[in-house]
């Protein structure tokens, strides 16, 4: 076992899959010699050569379209979109094409593509670097959307994503890249896509969350504990498809829930989770299911992002509201 940051775990997952399967290709802007702007691909070109790990011209739509073409000829592409705010440039290639390849070819072809991309607030980026756009992706049938919250999960989920025969959008929260280390096995292992993880068991309220908000939720749960409120924290890990069974089992136990996301409130993952709980467990509920989210503006200019982003105090407040309802 080694102590790894999330970014090291991600590099490790790609290294393992590049080794396991000669059809795995890693490419994107600056991923070659430079090792990626966050060093996610550090050393991979040197180890596997320019044929397998390579730089692309600076054009996201081209990267997306090329990934589809490579998939058609038998490869398993792992493209990087340098920041997920740039996804608008490649929306057609992802949502209009990649997600629909199996469908539009009547099942003749599939797109075993893993689109990796950093996202998320709290690191003072310029605009269109930090946005949480997972809701946009999750609305597209044909895609899976995975968001790890820690190094261990990142490695197991990324290996699963690369081996998946359908396109996976793999979103890596920038604040988690180097914020903490964790024991991560050096050998390969997988974590099933579509399975949530109960990070903390509790009996009074369920906190459903993912990404960087998992840490905030765990911190909130510790504080709530001091006040006698026992919170269960569920890390979704995959936001499309949702692990409905784990969410519902928890809500049926605690009878109360809040959903926490870094993204804005309108539409989105949290709204979907609330709707699923209402559809399936309304009679178990002792209080309405509330959401902790960012406000419905464009992602804040960085000088205001600390206030704009939800934190553990917002989570504590909402949890108390549903507990005291």
């Amino acid at each position: 076992m080694a102590q790894m940051t999330m970014i090291q775990a991600i590099t490790d997952a790609m290294r393992i899959e590049l080794k396991n399967d000669e059809n795995v290709l890693v490419f994107g802007e600056d991923v070659g010699q430079n090792g990626g702007v966050f060093r996610a691909t550090e050393g991979l070109q040197k180890e596997f050569g320019e044929d397998r790990v390579f730089d692309t011209p600076l054009a996201e739509s081209g990267i997306g379209g090329m990934s589809i073409g490579l998939a058609l000829t038998g490869f398993r592409p792992v493209p990087e979109i340098q920041f997920f705010g740039f996804v608008y440039e490649v929306m057609d290639a992802i949502s209009g094409q990649m997600a629909r390849l199996r469908y539009r070819s009547g099942g003749s072809f599939n797109a075993p593509i893993t689109v990796r991309s950093p996202f998320g607030g709290g690191v003072k980026t310029p605009e269109l670097h930090a946005d949480s756009l997972e809701g946009l992706m999750a609305q597209q049938p044909g895609l899976k959307v995975v968001i790890p919250s820690n190094p261990y999960d990142a490695k197991g989920l990324l290996i699963s994503a690369i081996r998946d025969n359908d396109p996976v959008i793999f979103l890596e929260h920038m604040k988690l890249y180097r914020s903490f280390r964790q024991e991560v096995p050096e050998e390969e292992y997988t974590i099933e896509i579509g399975k949530a993880d109960v990070k903390r068991e509790g009996s009074d309220v369920t906190i459903v969350t993912y990404g960087a908000m998992v840490q905030a939720s765990l911190k909130a749960a510790e504080e709530l504990e001091k006040e006698g409120i026992n919170a269960e924290v569920i890390d979704l890990r995959t936001v499309s498809p949702l692990d409905i069974d784990t969410i519902i089992a928890s809500v049926e136990k605690t009878n109360r829930a809040i959903v926490v996301q870094e993204a804005q409130k309108q539409a989105g993952i949290a709204a979907s989770v609330v709707a699923e709980i209402n559809d399936r467990a309304i009679l178990s509920l002792e209080a309405p299911v509330l959401r902790v989210t960012a406000p419905d503006t464009v992602f804040a200019f960085s000088a205001a992002e600390d206030v704009w982003l939800p934190d553990h105090t917002d989570i504590i407040e909402k949890a108390k509201t549903v507990v005291n309802f």
Binding site: A59, G62, I68, L72, G142, L242, D245
Partner: protein, 360 residues
């Protein structure tokens, strides 16, 4: 050499022609090596496709076909280019490019099912082709990827894609060619310039005098070809293919052509944006008429031969429609099962719901 390299931008993009409007060879040294049988086969395919177009329009009017984009006028561009391909080459077509798929192996009844919006019509059945792309230009970046994949796998094959003069305005057109150029990938980008993107004339698409010259901006070969001259199109694609598989990179080919009919059969009225004079000017350039003259002068074609093709086409179309009619009705559950390799929970639940509905 039928096609030229990137030496002199101004002089380079004069239209390449072998067979003029009167059916005369005007560029003997560029004449491709084709046997008499191959020449006849090219003619047979063009005549067949013209009949298919006429029948498709009439079937559409009877409500027996769905989405249909007429092809008459573009036979030389479509079939001359496909004729230069190997069976293992990849075709990434635009929405009007069903004839190339048919001659690449797509059964006719599947072309009709595609038109009817039935998923079986989109299946490739082991052929190296995608179904016609609807988003203008999306297939062009994919072509760069297929071509790069072929190169990485060490295959001596190419990826060819088709778009129109409007498609050449898309960012994906530039990105696809630029990527393929940067990787020296074996790709061929065919722009069938039929002068109108639905109603917008090509002059309004760009300040560029030709679409072929856009190749210069990405550093690849470019050529403008008489798209009503099947021999010139065939030769240009043959040369491009040879360069591509020899590692000399991609080629942009602009074929100067015209669609006689409307943009699609969904209500487009070309009289709103095209004059009768322009129509008749282009009808004089007809690819079948000129090639017929040429073949007749070589004693390779006759009225009897042509009638045989027409009759065969009509019979095969009739049989293909019957076959299409026999295909089981498409179900929503069929579509659910081709979304993912395995159904996720939401679709599993919805699958059950729709199975129950559909078994009623």
């Amino acid at each position: 050499m039928g096609t030229k390299t990137l030496e002199n931008i101004e002089g380079q993009f004069e239209m390449f022609q072998i067979l003029n409007e009167n059916g005369e060879i005007i560029n003997e040294e560029a004449m491709p090596e084709l046997t008499d049988e191959q020449l006849q086969e090219l003619m047979r395919r063009m005549v067949y496709t013209r009949i298919l177009d006429q029948r498709s329009i009439s079937l559409n009017r009877q409500g027996r076909l769905g989405f249909y984009a007429p092809t008459a006028g573009q036979e030389a561009s479509q079939l001359g280019s496909q004729f230069a391909l190997d069976k293992e080459d990849w075709i990434l077509p635009g929405y009007r490019d069903v004839p190339q798929l048919i001659w690449h192996g797509l059964p006719l009844y599947k072309a009709f099912l595609f038109s009817r919006g039935h998923f079986v019509g989109n299946q490739a059945d082991g052929l190296n082709m995608l179904s016609p792309q609807i988003i203008i230009g999306a297939q062009i970046t994919q072509t760069a990827g297929v071509a790069l994949g072929l190169k990485k796998k060490g295959k001596k094959n190419v990826a060819i894609t088709y778009t129109g003069d409007g498609g050449a305005s898309q960012g994906d057109f530039y990105e696809g060619m630029n990527f393929a150029g940067a990787y020296a990938a074996p790709a061929i980008f065919v722009v069938q310039n039929n002068r109108f993107a639905i109603s917008v004339p090509v002059e309004k698409q760009s300040a560029a005098k030709t679409i072929a010259q856009k190749a210069v901006g990405v550093g690849i070969h470019g050529v403008q070809v008489d798209g009503m001259d099947v021999l010139a199109v065939y030769k240009a694609v043959t040369d491009a293919r040879e360069r591509a598989i020899n590692g000399e990179g991609p080629t942009l080919i602009e074929t100067m052509t015209y669609r006689y009919g409307p943009h699609t059969m969904a209500g487009d009225d070309p009289t709103r944006y095209r004059s009768e004079d322009l129509d008749s000017e282009w009808e004089k350039k007809d690819p079948i008429v000129r090639f017929r003259k040429y073949l007749e002068s070589k004693d390779l074609w006759s009225e009897d031969k042509e009638n045989e093709v027409v009759e065969k086409a009509k019979e095969e179309i009739k049989a293909a429609i019957k076959e299409a009619d026999k295909t089981p009705k498409q179900k929503v559950t069929d579509l659910m099962s081709i979304m993912y390799e395995e159904l996720p929970q939401n679709l599993r639940e919805q699958y059950e719901e729709y199975s129950a509905k559909e078994s009623k």
